[in-house]
């Protein structure tokens, strides 16, 4: 008997969702987010929600409140494309998407007929805008750019011989980013002296560390586009093995659990990420205000979530319209927008991958702190 009210309610839900808000008079942001599943750390519904709350409190966009609809993709590509359609049905005029290209590309394809722009909050794979050139955008920089940034930082620090850590079982991030790094590093004059394969899951890196130690040509650095907790385990194992080789990486390291997992090994890591909430920075202000509102800024993707809304807001205000194609066109023209995580964002002539300043982070005395910013001069083609 209990099932009946459930069924009834779901029917009602169907009926309600069947009445899309008119897209012309209001911004409806649909967010197909990886709320659960393996990709959840790289998406931030909370960050997006918080920025929308802030904007609505300040009077909305073009005087109209912003409506936000979030659906879980469960870190699954098909569910992502399904909820993408659901969000379109509900009248979204902008879509924010999940952190991988296999979820983003179908959504962009579905959104294309109406000219609706699709922005990734967390995805850094430049393949997305390449596959969806009309309406696909990254909000973060691309992996090719961050890898190039890391290469410049490493080269500047005097490193010349790098080992690449490669994993094929987690996604493009861990498999392809090291190659981007390799290209940039060799362009600068460095040399890739070896590649070491690893697997996510069991988190035992002793075999790999022994391989690094035994590499024919001694490396003076390691590059890994590795996710937490493995990022911490890797440096911890290197440290435990008594090796003193620095590890360079990108935003996969950027999670508060990294430093705790890494323990004494944290000091080996240097990584390039999207930003840092230093005292007085817009990101810090954003975090503080959101914390007051009851949100919990878990990691940098919280800031990127806010930034995604910021990009949309800027585009609508410059287009002075809620019409999706107009918004889409306006995003393509954004230049030097002041972001939340970073000082400036440029989409103009960038093929959907923004030009941003990156923050270089290094761990010291139990804290990960920014040491400098970098804007790579040469970036490998995606």
């Amino acid at each position: 008997m209990k099932i009946k009210p459930l069924l009834l309610n779901s029917m009602i839900a169907v009926a309600i969702s069947g009445a899309p808000a008119s897209a012309e008079d209001q911004l409806v942001i649909g967010y197909a987010a990886a709320v659960t599943g393996s990709l959840a750390p790289y998406d931030s519904p909370a960050g997006v929600t918080c920025r929308v709350e802030q904007i609505n409190e300040a009077g909305g966009i073009l005087g109209k409140p912003v409506k936000l609809i979030i659906r879980d993709t469960k870190s699954d590509a098909v569910t992502a494309s399904n909820v993408g359609q659901e969000l379109l049905d509900q009248g979204a005029n902008v879509i924010l998407g999940p952190p991988t290209d296999d979820g983003l590309i179908p959504i962009a394809q579905l959104a294309l007929p109406k000219g609706i722009p699709v922005l990734s909050v967390g995805a850094t794979q430049p393949a997305f805008p390449v596959a969806s050139p009309e309406n696909g955008y990254l909000v973060p920089f691309g992996d090719n750019a961050s890898a190039a940034g890391a290469a410049e930082v490493a080269y500047k620090a005097g490193h010349r011989k790098a080992i690449l850590m490669i994993a094929n079982d987690v996604g493009a991030y861990s498999a392809i980013t090291p190659e981007y790094f390799g290209k940039a590093f060799e362009k600068l004059g460095g040399k890739i002296v070896g590649r070491v394969n690893y697997h996510h899951g069991l988190a035992d890196y002793n075999t790999q560390v022994a391989e690094i130690r035994n590499n024919a040509e001694k490396p003076d650095m390691i590059f890994a586009a590795i996710l937490v907790p493995d990022a911490g385990v890797l440096v911890r194992t290197i440290n435990a093995a008594g090796l003193d080789i620095p590890v360079y990486g990108t935003d996969g390291f950027d999670d508060p659990s990294f430093i705790e997992v890494a323990g004494a090994g944290a000091g080996l890591a240097t990584f390039v990420t999207h930003g840092y909430p230093s005292e007085g920075s817009p990101l810090k202000a954003f975090y503080d205000d959101c914390t007051k509102r009851g949100h919990n800024p878990q990691n940098i993707f919280f800031g990127l979530g806010g930034e995604a809304v910021e990009v949309v807001k800027a585009a609508i205000e410059s287009a002075n319209s809620f019409d999706p194609p107009a918004i889409n066109a306006a995003i393509k023209n954004i230049e030097n927008l002041k972001g939340i995580t970073t000082g400036s964002i440029t989409y103009k002539d960038r093929g959907g991958v923004p030009l941003k300043e990156m923050t270089v982070m290094h761990a010291k005395d139990g804290k990960v702190l920014p040491v400098e910013t970098v804007r790579p001069s040469w970036v490998a083609a995606p």
């Binding site: 659960t36 494309s81 296999d102 590309i105 596959a131 094929n168």
Partner: protein, 355 residues
């Protein structure tokens, strides 16, 4: 009525039910719900494919999704426009990066490849039975996944293949589902299916029939793989983007749950299980978004669908280990019931007369 006609009639009852769902969705549903129904049809086809082997040979199969993956990847690699492949699959071996195969031919090649691989794997697999055979199918799932993940030149590895022509429609999926139902039912009721089922129920009979059982298992395995291949092809041609994750444990468990909930030993079970689980899933998905029910705001509880999936498997195993439908097809159960009723009426009349 002859057995053949009876099977066809039984299959048509299910086919009509599925057809009604498809037609209703086509006529009335919004695009989102049409997508849900499309994916339901794809899952249904995979579940039916799974049933053909699991239900008849009585071997739990974890490997069926790998055939979906193989077929989906094959059609994707063949049919994606060459212009897109230039950026995405430029380094593909055998010149696959530059050729573009017409869709019908691509589909045929994909199916043929799936059947070929299924046959090769099957010749090894049918030598096992029981738990070892299940483990072998699990190994197959992992191996196919690892190969897709790592043969980067051919498959783009962990990255998605995109730009696959989006040609599949809900109507096509519905028709394929109905055809799959008919095929599975005919196989089940064929003399091959009967022998297989008899053998799986009785070890002595199985060993007496020896070699023949292995051959029949192989047939069931290949038919099963072919049907799953159809599901994979529809999937690729609908979503337009595929990645290895789509064809791994998540989908395996989902389809397996659908089958065991409905009942692995009949096609009716496969259909009913798919409907029940899909419907339950959608309700859970609605609930976990934290909806407002009669003025009461429920908390968002992402993870509910997962718990639902696990719970429905466990409960079903505890309460109805042979599934909602049990061992017989729905039409068989109906027929038996009406016969029993007739018989009890007759005996009631008879005893009444005796008094």
């Amino acid at each position: 009525m002859s057995n053949f006609l009876q099977s066809v009639r039984g299959a048509l009852i299910l086919g009509v039910a599925v057809g009604v769902i498809g037609v209703l969705a086509l006529l009335f549903a919004e695009p989102f719900y049409q997508r849900i129904v499309f994916i339901f049809m794809v899952n249904l086809i995979a579940v039916i494919g799974l049933q053909v082997f699991m239900g008849n040979a009585d071997i739990t199969n974890y490997g069926h999704i790998s055939f979906m993956g193989i077929a989906a990847y094959a059609v994707a690699i063949l049919a994606t426009p060459a212009a897109i492949k230039k950026t995405s699959l430029a380094t593909a071996p055998f010149g696959l990066g530059t050729i573009e195969v017409a869709l019908p031919i691509a589909i045929l090649i994909a199916l043929a490849l799936t059947v070929l691989i299924a046959f090769l794997v099957g010749t090894m697999l049918v030598r096992q039975s029981g738990t070892p055979a299940s483990i072998a199918t699990l190994a197959l799932l992992v191996i196919v996944h690892v190969v897709i993940m790592n043969w980067v030149d051919l498959t783009r590895g962990p990255r998605a293949i995109y730009g696959i022509p989006v040609k599949a429609t809900l109507g096509m999926a519905t028709i394929c589902a109905i055809l799959a139902i008919v095929a599975a039912r005919l196989f089940r009721d064929s003399s091959w299916g009967l022998q297989l089922r008899a053998a799986s129920e009785n070890i002595a009979a199985a060993s007496a029939m020896g070699v023949r059982i292995k051959r029949l298992r192989l047939v069931a395995w290949v038919v099963s793989a072919a049907i799953c291949g159809v599901a994979g092809i529809l999937f690729a041609l609908f979503v337009g983007t595929i990645s290895p994750k789509s064809f791994y444990f998540d989908l395996t468990f989902l389809t397996l749950a659908m089958l065991v909930v409905g009942g692995a030993y009949s096609v009716s079970g496969a259909v009913l299980g798919s409907i029940v689980v899909t419907f339950g899933f959608e309700i859970m998905r609605y609930l976990e978004n934290g909806p407002q029910i009669v003025g009461l705001k429920l908390p968002t509880m992402f993870g509910l669908t997962g718990i639902f999936l696990g719970a429905i498997i466990v409960l079903c195993m505890i309460l109805r280990p042979r599934g909602l439908v049990g061992d017989d097809e729905i039409d068989e159960i109906w027929r038996r019931r009406s016969k029993n009723r007739e018989r009890s009426e007759i005996s009631a009349n008879a005893s009444g007369a005796a008094q």
